[in-house]
């Protein structure tokens, strides 16, 4: 809303460019006061659009709450849609850096998008704030990348340990066949087998998979204690419904995995089939801290639905940009900004978090949660906490 009202008041100066395939640019014009521009590249259309919307919503919410001025400078968000296509991301980032002279590029719904921009961030010495993509290697691709989302290694190693220690001996895995899915599988397997567990079946599902029936039948026939599952957020609902259809819930086969499957966005749509699923993740809308209750209430009031883990990453991402600018006194030198972010600690709606000064990746609590009914709605309710988990994808090296 706020971008729109600014546009109306400054219609003469505002420029809206609609490119091919609905790429939309909203350019909030500069005030008389000096401004800092943040290029926010998100998938606002296409299959990953819910990620983009959550992050965009959260960034707007934060700026409404905290104002749009930091260290005497006005913050301008330039939102661009890349449709999660890396070629678009790269071209848009180039435009933002060269034409708009942004001081930050942020967002990145998927891993390939974040990777496509890494060389540009290095070349232009501009901080790249990753707010969604979750593959371990991302922050290693440029010294200017800082991540506020999560890595799949963080949650998958924890659930692997937890499963091995909690009476789960045999696991069948079902993961989407792309980088995050392979990360989830590798790190789960490593920790689960080290804890004495056994993988009885390993199935990689194509990313654009319409029907889980044959894969689920394979899971069922291999008679595991639990199914470890990672599919991109949108497919989680289909997976759970077909899991119940095939009667896997009645055979006592549990569902475990990183929390992406149980995105708050989709949880209610899955129905009671999701009840009892145990996942490890950094955020649930049911996180019981006062700060989170406030965050969830404000988000619901503004947008009518509850925030998911992507929203909290966006909220923390823009917070980190604000705090870094405070530290540099409004200076936008890339090296100084990245130095200011390294080691930064703060309280997020998800709990205490910090930026690892060595890897520039996020360090956060990982919670083990179980899907339960709270007030007629489904939530992932946290019951165990692993504190200050680093990305094990790098610490192992």
């Amino acid at each position: 809303m706020f971008i729109r009202s600014q546009m109306l008041s400054q219609a003469a100066a505002g420029i809206a460019v609609a490119g091919a395939f609905g790429l939309v640019t909203v350019w909030a014009p500069a005030q008389a006061q000096e401004s800092v521009k943040v290029g926010l590249i998100l998938p606002m259309t296409g299959g990953q659009a819910s990620t983009g919307k959550q992050i965009d919503n959260a960034v707007k919410l934060y700026m409404q709450q905290k104002g749009d001025t930091v260290a005497g400078k006005k913050i301008e968000i330039i939102l661009k849609d890349d449709g999660a296509v890396p070629d678009n991301t790269k071209r848009i980032a180039q435009e933002l850096i060269v034409n708009d002279k942004v001081s930050f590029i942020a967002g990145f719904g998927v891993t390939p998008a974040a990777l496509a921009v890494a060389p540009l961030a290095t070349q232009a010495k501009i901080p790249e704030i990753v707010m969604a993509a979750g593959t371990s290697i991302i922050t290693e691709r440029s010294p200017y990348i800082v991540r506020t989302s999560f890595t799949l290694a963080q949650s998958s190693t924890i659930i692997g340990d937890w499963a091995a220690k909690n009476g789960i001996k045999k696991v069948a895995t079902l993961t989407s066949d792309y980088a995050p899915g392979n990360d989830a599988l590798t790190f789960f397997k490593q920790n689960f087998t080290a804890g004495g567990g056994q993988i009885v079946e390993e199935v990689k599902v194509p990313l654009a998979n319409p029907d889980f029936a044959p894969f689920l039948q394979r899971m069922k026939d291999s008679k595991p204690d639990a199914v470890f599952v990672f599919v991109p957020a949108g497919q989680g609902g289909n997976f759970m419904k077909q899991y119940a259809e095939r009667g896997l819930d009645k055979t006592g086969i549990k569902v475990i995995g990183p929390g992406d499957v149980m995105d708050d966005d989709l949880l209610n749509g899955m129905g009671d089939a999701a009840l009892g699923a145990v996942t490890a993740h950094h955020y649930s809308a049911a996180h019981p801290s006062a700060m989170n209750k406030e965050f969830v209430a404000a988000y619901k009031k503004a947008y009518g639905n509850r925030p998911g883990f992507m929203a909290v990453s966006g909220y923390d991402g823009i917070h980190m940009i604000y705090e870094a600018l405070k530290k540099t006194g409004g200076k936008t030198d890339g090296d100084a900004l990245v130095a200011a972010m390294k080691g930064m600690k703060w309280e997020s709606p998800r709990g205490p978090i910090s930026i690892d000064p060595e890897t520039r990746d996020i360090v956060q609590n990982i919670y083990i949660r179980k899907v339960e009914k709270v007030g007629g709605e489904l939530y992932s309710v946290e019951f165990a906490t692993f504190e200050a988990v680093k990305d094990s994808g790098k610490t192992k090296k």
């Binding site: 998979n209 319409p210 029936a213 044959p214 894969f215 259809e245």
Partner: protein
């Protein structure tokens, strides 16, 4: 052994679903010779109509299914009268560009109205879970799909082959000028047929939401499947696409079960092999029209 039957059952159900989704396209593409790539958009419409009626207005699922058909058919007839009919005589390229444009518009419109999240239709409890049939797990929902689609196929075949309307349609397609000279109202026959194809797509969309998922990108994601069914089946009859759907459905499910590492490619392999063997599809006409 029981696993084999389960796979076979799942494959037949998946194939039937593909058939209902694609047979409307077989009608428009095969019989009317119109390349309507926006077919999936009508399927999506049916899915969303059913979802809104069931989830928001509290309609029973089985009452919402016919409405999914009716609304998609109504939109189909409105678009046919206003837009499509001007393109019957144009080249296939024009038709492709026009209908792909429609797809993008429908994606954007549904995204704007319904949001981009995937939605699910609340099913009655009677359709959930499995029945044990001599040790073979039979999914109730999939069983329902087989029953509905089986009846539809039989009905469709009867209408096309045995009724007065069927022969008028075939006449109108083969030689529109002679047909109208004989007193057949060709535009009306075409409009009705087109609407019926769209209605079938809508019904397929409503039925498929549970298995394939429903979001605004549905028409783009499944366009390729519709086209495979029609290409493999050949576009001159209904039996061709029907057998093709079954073959592809069973092949896809069995491939994913027995060779999961290459599972997703099985459907394409089948297509390529069949097209090398019979370039016009299983039941294609050998002579060009």
């Amino acid at each position: 052994m029981t696993t084999l039957f389960t796979i076979l059952f799942d494959g037949v159900a998946y194939g039937m679903l593909l058939f209902v989704l694609a047979c409307g396209l077989a009608v428009t593409l095969g019989l009317m010779n119109f390349v309507n790539l926006a077919h999936g958009a009508f399927a999506m419409t049916g899915g969303y109509v059913c979802a809104v009626l069931v989830n928001q207005s509290g309609w029973p699922f089985f009452a919402a299914l016919p409405l999914a058909f009716v609304v998609s058919a109504a939109i189909g007839v409105a678009l046919e009268r206003s837009l499509y009919r001007h393109l019957y005589t144009r080249s296939h390229l024009d038709q492709v560009l026009f209908s792909v444009g429609l797809v993008f518009m429908s994606v954007a419109a549904v995204d704007y109205i319904m949001g981009s999240s995937r939605i699910f239709i609340k099913l009655p409890a009677a359709l959930e879970g499995q029945i044990d049939f001599f040790g073979v797990g039979v999914g109730r929902y999939r069983l329902m799909i087989i029953v509905i689609c089986g009846l539809l196929t039989a009905g469709l075949q009867l209408v096309l082959a045995r009724t007065r309307f069927g022969s008028r349609l075939r006449a109108a397609v083969d030689d529109p000028r002679a047909a109208s000279g004989l007193g057949i109202n060709v535009p009306q026959v075409f409009a009705f047929t087109f609407a019926f194809g769209c209605g079938l797509a809508g019904l397929g969309g409503a039925l498929s939401a549970e298995i394939l998922g429903l979001d605004p990108y549905f028409p783009l994601k499944f366009m390729i499947y519709f086209l495979i069914v029609v290409t493999v089946g050949g576009s001159s009859s209904i039996t061709g696409p029907f057998l093709a759907s079954l073959l592809l459905g069973i092949g896809d499910v069995a491939g994913k079960y027995y060779v999961p590492k290459m599972g997703p490619f099985v459907i394409y392999t089948i297509m390529i092999v069949i097209l090398i063997w019979r370039p016009n599809g299983l039941f294609g006409r050998t002579a060009a029209r």
